[in-house]
């Protein structure tokens, strides 16, 4: 039996159980932060910097303070000056401490200047208008080249700026991070090659565009403690960072995460909560701060734009003799995630193909532009655009089919890569061999679905509309090994239901449901018996939060272990009730049964009542924590067929196929949903999404001007789940959510080449860019 066939015997896992919050959300019941705001809450509005780089010479908030309805104004003169980092990462963070609640300096258009809390939104906005600010304009830095030029303006000249862990950080040179590694000899590999390549790629800014913008509410409880209800992926990091920024103990803060209206990484950031908490403290009132869409674009976090130089060598026999990946990201005005994103651009891509001689260099630079953050794909998205484009070029050079070339070179089960050990997130990585790997099968099934065998060379294509087929292979990780921790507790109730409390953060992905399925599977009961409560720093165990593709793999295993702990107690009590030794009983269908006589049994409900009320009373409660020793990659092969209008450069995606090996699909429908959503986001990113700037100001801050795909735009998407079994994950599962977004840019880029012979090394593939590339090719002929 193939290992993955084990999953066929599961009763809860590997079934498309209905998402447990779906009905409540579809009915429009109060679920999200703004639904819980009392009508008398104060409304917060922020005065944002109109300048990309300036020092505040004078600021006068006295008029604003006297405006009707205004209860408090915050600015650098009346808040603690505590340097911190807004990236919601583990502690100490692998990101620079370069941020203050408010500062004398503004570093991008959309940086904080001063905030007002007033009885109404109109009053708050009116007060902002009378805040007088005099700026001393500084020379702005708008590109990686300007940032790294000798004598460039220093964006972070404050003496406090530092990274709390020993990593390379040179703010005087605008250098946020530098990381590198070498395996074998890259130079020798290039010399040994029959063909070499040296290509440079550019990837754009993008915003996550959750339909619920950033929103945070803070209240003072009767006890005097601060309760923050916030749209966050990282409730525990939020609590820690708010405590740090306000200079108050963690103990004083409770963070509650209700339902979240999407995050995709942008809510792995503590961007509002220090201000809402401060206003709550100052006023004693409930306060609400909700970003507008415009603010979400300008001040919200973005995907780091990258410049990627890829050098590679290939031998005629198909051996990749050298890969050199040089990635530079623009982290914008603040450095959160700068190091880890660039590190993952190598760490989550380079192990995919066999190569003995690998060079990687990653750098991260400050600019006076919007701030990069975590975004689904996390660096791998940017690097895979380069790697998978050059894979096609190498295949063509040696006269090999791009699919066959990938099939020959991709990593197999039980193989390692020096990259796993060399590149971690803020420190060295963890040596690892790949356990589950169904990439080979992904490639085969995807090729069949797209009709790869009918693909023809671009040189034979004529006419205005030309079709092309492209592909890419992908990997990601599952959690950050040895760093991330998730914990869970599970207790029984009288009717045999269970309270499952987890720190893990469901941001709309369905992780509450997935974790309930895992608990039910382990406990031999049904998922509908689980009452899940997640992400409340007062009431649930700790979890690092929803990032790094960790929840199913990491928190899921914590849940499985907690359920196993509860099950041991259930077995012991059941055995006691049956008058049997523990070794002679087992669990099935929410009951404990005698192995010898299955008619002798007690239900979970009976066991709960016995243990709560009758004899030797105690609470059956299981708890567990989990850290991972590996970060098993999910694998994927993506394919697309597109049509290029060679007169206009317009691209239409005719069909897109995403395969995915996520180990056991705990909930196949939700896994498909993740893949479909991430893939369409990736297609939208590859074709239309971009930030347009004027003097550092993002000019297209609305869905009218920043186009994300709608139902009309949606091409035919096909998702194929290809099973494998990851021995280190809960019931064979590994991650699913991030990998899919890495595919569309390289797949469509390769398809454009296959349609027209034109290579476009910079996306979004707008008609202008594609047409220019086609015309340049025509001229060469």
């Amino acid at each position: 039996m193939n290992r993955h066939e084990k999953a066929k015997n599961f009763k809860q896992v590997n079934h498309s159980v209905t998402k447990i919050d779906a009905l409540q959300l579809a009915l429009g019941k109060d679920s999200y932060v703004a639904d819980f705001v009392p009508n008398d809450a104060l409304i917060i509005k922020m005065l944002w910097s109109p300048h990309a780089h300036a020092r505040i010479k004078k600021i006068d908030v006295s008029k604003a303070e006297k405006m009707p309805g205004v209860k408090a104004v915050l600015w650098y003169g009346n808040v603690p000056r505590i340097v911190h980092c807004t990236a919601g990462q583990g502690f100490p963070e692998p990101s620079p401490y370069d941020t203050f609640m408010f500062d004398r300096k503004v570093r991008f258009v959309g940086d904080r200047v001063a905030a007002v809390a007033a009885e109404t939104e109109e009053q708050a906005l009116a007060a902002l208008e009378v805040i007088k600010v005099e700026y001393e304009l500084l020379k702005p830095v708008f590109s990686i080249d300007e940032a790294m030029a000798p004598g460039a303006p220093v964006i972070h000249d404050e003496p406090e700026a530092h990274v709390p862990i020993p990593v390379h950080y040179e703010p005087k040179k605008n250098l946020v991070a530098q990381v590198g590694c070498e395996a074998g000899s890259f130079e020798k590999g290039m010399k040994d090659a029959d063909f070499t390549f040296d290509e440079t790629f550019e990837t754009p800014y993008a915003q996550h565009c959750p339909i619920e913008p950033y929103v945070s509410m803070a209240q003072i409880a009767s006890s005097g403690r601060i309760v923050i209800t916030t749209s966050t992926q990282v409730p525990f990091h939020c609590r820690r960072i708010v405590a740090q920024t306000l200079g108050i103990p963690v103990q004083r803060i409770r963070v509650i995460k209700p339902r979240i209206g999407g995050g995709f990484g942008c809510k792995q950031e503590v961007l509002l909560d220090d201000v809402t908490a401060m206003f709550a403290l100052r006023t004693g009132r409930s306060v609400l701060w909700q970003f507008t869409r415009e603010e979400t674009f300008r001040t919200g976090r973005t995907r780091h734009p990258f410049r990627v130089r890829l050098r590679a060598g290939v031998k005629k026999d198909g051996t990749i003799s050298a890969i050199g990946l040089d990635c530079i990201n623009n982290t914008g005005a603040y450095g959160g995630h700068g190091l880890t994103v660039v590190s993952c651009s190598g760490g989550k891509t380079l192990p995919l193909y066999h190569c003995d001689n690998i060079h990687f260099d990653g750098k991260s630079y400050y600019t006076n532009l919007p701030v990069g953050g975590a975004y689904r794909g996390f660096g791998a998205t940017q690097a895979f655009f380069a790697i998978e484009s050059v894979m096609d070029q190498m295949a063509e050079a040696i006269g090999m089919d791009p699919k066959a070339f990938r099939q020959m070179n991709h990593i197999r089960e039980n193989e390692g890569s020096p990259i796993f050990a060399a590149l971690g997130e803020g420190r060295e990585g963890t040596p690892m061999t790949v356990g589950s790997n169904a990439l080979g099968e992904c490639i085969v099934q995807g090729a069949e679905a797209i009709g790869w065998d009918k693909r023809t060379d671009w040189r034979g294509k004529t006419g205005r509309f030309r079709r092309g087929v492209g592909m890419a292979c992908l990997m990601q990780g599952s959690s950050i090994p040895d760093i991330d921790m998730g914990a869970a507790a599970i207790k029984i109730n009288e009717d045999g239901s269970f309270n499952l409390t987890v720190g893990a953060t469901d941001l709309g992905t369905g992780s509450d449901t997935v974790l309930a399925q895992i608990a039910a599977e382990e406990l031999e009961t049904t998922t509908d018996k689980m009452i899940v409560y997640s992400s409340d720093t007062d009431l649930t165990p700790f979890d690092v939060g929803a990032y790094a593709s960790s929840t199913t793999y990491l928190s899921g295993e914590a849940v499985r272990k907690a359920a196993a702990d509860a099950k041991r107690q259930i077995l012991a009590t059941g055995a006691e009730m049956l008058g049997l030794p523990v070794g002679e009983v087992f669990c099935e269908n929410a009951a404990v049964l005698s192995r010898k006589d299955e008619k002798k049994k007690v239900s979970y409900s009976d066991i709960a009542n016995y243990s709560l009320y009758q004899k030797n009373q105690y609470q059956i409660i299981g708890t567990a924590s989990h850290i991972t020793k590996k970060s098993p990659p999910p694998f994927a092969a993506h394919y697309a067929e597109i049509e290029v209008d060679t007169w206009t450069g317009f691209i239409r995606v005719l069909k897109y196929v995403s395969t995915i090996d996520c180990g056991t699909a705990v909930n196949p429908t939700l896994c498909e949903g993740q893949t479909e959503g991430g893939t369409l986001n990736g297609i939208s990113y590859a074709l239309t999404e971009q930030y347009l700037f004027q003097n550092g100001r993002m000019m297209n801050a609305s869905f009218a001007d920043y186009h994300i795909y709608s139902m009309r735009d949606r091409p035919a998407l096909q998702t194929i789940l290809v099973p494998s079994y990851e021995d280190t994950g809960p019931f064979g599962a590994k991650s699913v959510s991030e990998i899919c977004i890495n595919g569309p840019a390289p797949v469509i880029g390769n398809a454009i080449y296959n349609a027209t012979g034109a290579r476009v090394n910079e996306f979004p593939f707008t008609p202008e860019k594609v047409l220019a590339a086609i015309q340049a090719l025509e001229k060469k002929k």
Binding site: L23, G28, Y32, T120, I211, E676, P715, L717
Partner: protein
């Protein structure tokens, strides 16, 4: 700020109501303030559809409409679409299809689909897209929303039996071919 007293009266989910308001208040703000919080704020720019309500049967962005423009009209919100015991037909299909991820866009989707079903007899793909195009979703890629909607529409078409479902070019399987 001086508050001049203004009121607006309209039929809300079948009940005649009168609310205090101001000339500059948007319908979305009024509805949420009055407890109809299933209608969501997503952009305030009339571009995402999370605030979609029905005004005299037409799908309308409540973030753009001034509350006083609703005077005398019939307004319907997501609260009218279903209950825990009796969810609406499309809501049931959304749940069954796994189309509710973060769920923030779903109330708006349901209202736009209601407008479609009440206004049109022809549920061909192009017309459906016309009605649903103004509701953005970033989680699902629209696949499962589409599947759920087609199931409802195909059933309605079959019921009216104007043309056989089997003869149609598209089916409830959506894009999966």
């Amino acid at each position: 700020m001086t508050r001049t007293s203004h009121t607006v009266s309209f039929t809300l989910n079948g009940e005649k109501k009168t609310f205090d308001t101001r000339p500059d208040e948007k319908l979305l703000t009024l509805l949420r303030r009055e407890g109809y919080r299933g209608t969501k704020y997503g952009c305030g720019q009339g571009t995402c559809g999370a605030c979609t309500v029905l005004v005299d049967g037409k799908a309308t962005y409540a973030c753009l409409l001034y509350s006083m423009q609703a005077e005398g009209r019939k307004v319907r919100t997501i609260e009218s679409a279903g209950t825990f015991d009796k969810p609406g037909e499309f809501q049931k299909e959304l749940i069954a299809a796994g189309a509710v991820q973060c769920g923030y866009c779903i109330p708006g989707m349901v209202m736009s689909a209601t407008a479609l079903m009440e206004s049109e007899k022809d549920f061909s793909d192009e017309i459906v897209k016309e009605y649903m195009d103004g509701n953005l979703c970033r989680c699902t890629g629209y696949e499962k929303i589409w599947v759920a909607l087609r199931r409802v529409l195909d059933r309605r078409e079959a019921a009216t039996a104007k043309r056989p479902v089997a003869g149609k070019k598209t089916s409830s399987k959506g894009a999966k071919k």
